[in-house]
Symmetry: C2
Subunit: 172 residues, 2 copies
Amino acid sequence: MTNQMKIISDKIVLNKNSHYIWAKSKSRMFSKACEYGIRATLYIAQKSLNGQRASLKAITHEIDSPEAFTAKILQQLAKAQVVRSVKGPHGGFEIAREDIDSMRLSEIVNAIDGDNIYKGCGLGLKACNAQKPCPVHHKFTAIRNDLKTMLQETRLLELATSLETGLTFLKR
Amino acid sequence: MTNQMKIISDKIVLNKNSHYIWAKSKSRMFSKACEYGIRATLYIAQKSLNGQRASLKAITHEIDSPEAFTAKILQQLAKAQVVRSVKGPHGGFEIAREDIDSMRLSEIVNAIDGDNIYKGCGLGLKACNAQKPCPVHHKFTAIRNDLKTMLQETRLLELATSLETGLTFLKR
DNA sequence: TCAATAAAAGATATAAAGGTCTTAATATCT
DNA sequence: AGATATTAAGACCTTTATATCTTTTATTGA
Ligand code: FES
Ligand code: FES
């Protein structure tokens, strides 16, 4: 590289006039909002199993997420009835025991990211359509369906339990 | 809804003061740049199999993508040696026959999106780490590995051939 | 009923992705 | 050599995602 561009970080590249030029888009399966949302929900589930509510402060501390942004996401999850919120002293977020048993990962993902991840075309055609498939359709739908099945079958209880027993973690 | 917010489209929601509030992030497996990049590469491969070059204009027409943006993506792919570009009259983009045989889908994805999609943690922890796994680690890595394998095994030739025979499509 | 606490709602700010436009470089043909 | 065709490079603009800050609403308990 003989020119004067400046690499600020892995993601930020500026040229000599300090204009942003290009960096690989760090694509992810779920949006950050959804990642925080899943982690927050799992923490709340874990606390709820112990008969406790989780406050916003506790949540953001335990999952290492930005507080105000996490609040917004929890609002969404409360509207979607994934979690229940309680205002005032000793308030916070909770999930009913029977919901922890029955709720699936897919409900959280749906509430935040919608279902495009397992319905949309892998190459971005308007919709996935087996009658007029894109070149990756067959290979892609197989993986997408596995993802869909996994999300729809995985219960909150199972994930919250592995957290409780210290087998898995929400931050590092 | 008794308030005055205005739903402009599926993705754009404004409140009474015309401030953007919130909409589900349409998450996708690959970035749009990557989707266009794959589609463009497949079209170029198909033309190359017929001994022809593909011009930017022809590409954007055939894959239905924004011209200037597609040009940027093709620049990236040329730098990554996924495609070869030729300037001047009768110029355009091409892929050597032997590369069409050997090149895998993963090379295109890597050139544009990098490898986070099959290396990163599904819940957004700094890195995926089996020693201190997140709650979805085991279920997630299984799917991610299937995706990785699929991308690494799928050859351009196979996809370009299915296009040529009219079994699959790059736009609709 | 009042102070304190905690979430909801709203406004605004910043960063990244997606996209356009203009000029430069390079190849081809006459 | 000059006109033309085509991609490369750079600057810039727009939209969406991510994030923060401020004000309002609900709940509790002294
Ligand atoms: S049409 Fe592209 S994935 Fe189904
Ligand atoms: S640690 Fe989260 S996917 Fe491996």
